[in-house]
């Protein structure tokens, strides 16, 4: 099983689905961000899986994965800063209270 590409990809898909569910279903903004991190990691996993099993892609996959991790870090930073700023304004971290743009 560990030698087949399919299992890693299916694992990555499941992780992505779990991340999607968490993003759409949780009320806390930080939970949403955590779900986003899960989704990013799922993508990372699939990239590395391709790199491990398809010969010409090995180094490329590693580099791409590193860059994705860096960007994910940056995005988490800014996202959390925004959540903190909004929390200071609205005094709640729950996203269904952030509806001042509603019609």
């Amino acid at each position: 099983m560990s030698n087949s590409l399919d299992s890693y990809l299916v694992l990555s898909g499941l992780l992505f689905a779990i991340g999607t569910f968490g993003f759409l279903a949780r009320r806390n903004a930080i939970s949403m961000l955590m779900s986003i991190e899960l989704m990013l990691n799922a993508v990372n996993l699939s990239v590395l899986a391709f790199g491990a099993f398809v010969a010409p892609l090995t180094t490329h996959a590693a580099v791409i994965a590193l860059l994705v991790i860096a960007v994910a870090a940056a995005e988490a930073t800014v996202g959390l800063a925004i959540v903190i700023a909004i929390y200071r304004n609205r005094k709640t971290p729950l996203v269904d209270e952030y509806d001042s743009m509603r019609e």
Binding site: T20, F23, L24, V95, D96, Y98, D99, S100, R102, E103
Partner: protein, 652 residues
């Protein structure tokens, strides 16, 4: 001298403009411009008429035209502003301008105390302009314009005392009923245009034979429809009696002498059209003579003095149309002229009587006025004698020609009914005289003290009108069927008379013509005697003095057969009620139904679109929650849909 022709209508038009714009400020001098305009127009008209009738002064014998400018120069449709004068026009000009001028003089006195007199004179001038345009026009479109304008003036003048509700409603009724006839006329004009391609009257007459016969009948019927409306023939006769709500000079001018003659003039002018459709001429004769007897029967029981005269006008107009229908064209014009004068005289006289008894119009409250208002009495007596057809006054000659023409041209039923109507005419006119002037006075004692003769401004026109009432017949109609009038009008009608295949037999007093004349005169005499017996007479000069017998009248009108006739006659044979039921009640319901449809369905649909749009917007608004997760869910669902769809397509 052709340039004089446009002056005839333009002078009253100028009078209307000046009086209309400045009359209010002119106070009791507001009549001056109007009256001067009409006098000037009369002078010019007399010159033009003289020229046209004698063929001198630059007027041709067969008619002179003058085109002012090209009115509607559209491709394929051409109408000019032009006038045409021939002998027929000249006869009408004489009647219209003379009676118009005398009515203007009369109105100076009659309307002396009315604050709206400037409006009155302005409208009178506008009416003169319209009528003259109608008479002088050389193409059907211009005739129609004049036609509509006289209708408008009639509306304005009938409703002159508009604060009075009955006057306003009578004006509306006149206009609406006229409109019905005008519709037919307009359709006839359109038919002429589509069939013949031109609206110029002389051109139409020349080319009329080339139209298909069905179209000829249709055009003739439609033109007659217009005449029925304007001249108040059955079934559009209901407006004329109500039109008596207007001031008496209006009744005299418009509803006796000029406007109602427009229909007769139109049919006479279009005689080639009618000549080509003999079936329609039978219709014309039938409608005319039926109106004559219908109106005469109603006049038997009317109590308002002006109403009697109104029904009398209807009856005489019926005579004219009957005459046109049987082919006695010149007789119709002769009767038009003589009727214009003596009916105008009678109306102005009735105005004088009403003025004398301070506004009372009910004859049952008059009586015994002969001594008190002698000039009015004398002129009215002359008028009554004239209309009854007693020789040698004007009415005798014209009526006799009509009846003779009917008999000799084979329309025996027309002759028979006309014969009876002649007797009826004499009866109701002398009934009027009896109730108004002879017998005891039933005048309200308050008013009796103030009975006075009218001022000279009013009596002078009366006298002036009495003269042609007496002498016109002798002047232009004697010897019968070969007098001056026949000579004048020969070129207008000879083509039609020749085409109808009848030969004009010379008048022979010792033949059939004399028999007819004597028969008519005898019936008239009997009728007058019966009227005297029932309603009284008092003419000391002739040694006659008979008391009225109202009990006998009551007894006669209560007899079983006669009671129904009496009731029908006083209810105007229920025509007004019929029209009210048909058009006002049922028309009103139809209008209400259509209004419901328009409001509920049409407006509902349009408003409904708006409501649906707003509703859709309000519903779709709820998607905008302002929450990121809802939007993200939407994205996710869309993504899933696309992916699944792609997979399905790729799997095929």
């Amino acid at each position: 001298m052709k340039f004089l022709i446009p002056l005839i209508p333009l002078l009253p038009l100028a009078g209307f403009a000046v009086t209309g714009l400045f009359g209010r400020g002119m106070g009791n001098q507001s009549h001056r411009i109007a009256v001067w305009a009409v006098v000037a127009s009369w002078l010019v008209a007399m010159v033009v008429a003289f020229g046209a009738l004698t063929g001198t002064l630059g007027f041709g014998g067969a008619g002179t035209g003058i085109t002012l400018w090209n009115w509607i120069p559209a491709t394929g449709f051409n109408a000019d502003m032009g006038f045409f004068v021939d002998a027929l026009t000249a006869c009408l000009l004489i009647v219209v301008t003379t009676i118009g001028m005398l009515v203007h003089f009369y109105s100076i006195g009659y309307m002396a105390h009315d604050p709206g007199r400037w409006r009155f004179f302005a409208y009178l001038n506008l009416f003169m302009f319209s009528m003259l345009v109608l008479v002088l026009a050389d193409n059907f479109l211009l005739v129609f314009a004049g036609w509509e304008l006289v209708g408008l003036c009639s509306y304005l003048l009938i409703g002159f005392w508009y604060p009075r509700r009955s006057a306003a409603e009578a004006a509306k009724k006149a206009f609406l009923v006229n409109r019905v006839g005008d519709m037919g006329f307009a359709l006839g004009i359109m038919a002429i245009w589509t069939q013949l391609g031109t609206l110029n009257m002389q051109a139409v007459f020349a080319a009329f034979g080339s139209a298909p016969h069905d179209w000829q009948i249709a055009i003739a019927l439609l033109i007659f429809c217009g005449a029925v409306g304007k001249s108040a023939q059955f079934p559009l006769h209901v407006w004329l009696p109500d039109a008596m709500e207007g001031p008496t000079p209006v009744s005299a001018l418009i509803h006796a002498a000029t406007m109602v003659n427009a229909g007769v003039y139109l049919v006479a002018r279009c005689n080639p059209i009618f000549g080509a459709a003999p079936e329609v001429m039978v219709v014309v004769a039938a409608v005319g003579i039926f109106t004559a007897i219908l109106a005469a029967s109603i006049a038997f029981t009317q109590t308002d003095i002006k109403r009697v005269l109104a029904y009398s006008t209807l009856s005489q107009l019926g005579y004219m149309f009957a005459s046109l229908g049987v082919g006695a064209w010149t007789a119709a014009i002769f009767h038009l002229m003589s009727h214009g004068f003596f009916k105008g005289l009678l109306f102005l006289d009735s105005g004088s009587v009403i003025h004398a008894v301070d506004g009372e119009q009910d004859m049952r409250k008059m009586g015994g006025l002969a001594r008190k208002i002698p000039t009015t009495y004398a002129t009215m007596l002359i008028g009554s004698v004239a209309i009854s057809g007693v020789p040698p006054l004007a009415g005798f000659f014209s009526k006799d020609e009509i009846l003779g023409g009917a008999f000799k041209n084979g329309f025996l039923w027309v002759w028979a009914i006309g014969f009876v109507v002649a007797g009826m005419t004499a009866f109701y006119m002398f009934r009027l005289m009896g109730m108004t002037f002879w017998g005891e006075s039933h005048v309200d004692p308050e008013k009796e003290r103030h009975i006075h003769e009218s001022p000279t401004t009013m009596t002078r026109p009366l006298i002036l009108l009495a003269i042609p009432a007496v002498f016109l017949g002798l002047l232009i109609g004697f010897p019968p069927e070969s007098g001056l009038l026949h000579a004048w009008l020969k070129p207008v009608f000879e083509a039609t008379i020749a085409a109808s295949g009848r030969t004009e037999t010379a008048y022979n007093f010792f033949g059939i013509d004399g028999v007819l004349a004597i028969a008519t005169t005898s019936l008239v005499a009997i009728a007058i005697v019966i009227a005297w017996r029932l309603f009284g007479v008092s003419m000391p000069a002739l040694g006659l003095k008979v008391q009225p017998r109202p009990d006998r009248v009551r007894e006669l009108s209560a007899r079983p057969g006669l009671a129904f006739l009496y009731r029908g006659s006083s209810n105007k044979w229920w025509f007004d009620d019929l029209y009210h039921q048909l058009f006002v009640v049922w028309g009103g319901r139809l209008a209400a139904a259509v209004f419901w449809f328009d409001r509920t369905i049409v407006d509902g649909t349009v408003n409904g679109i708006g409501v649906v749009t707003i509703g859709a917007g309000a519903t779709l608004r709820r998607i905008q929650t302002g929450r990121v997760q809802n939007y993200a869910l939407g994205i996710a669902l869309g993504l899933i849909a696309m992916a699944v769809g792609y997979l399905i397509i790729a799997a095929r």
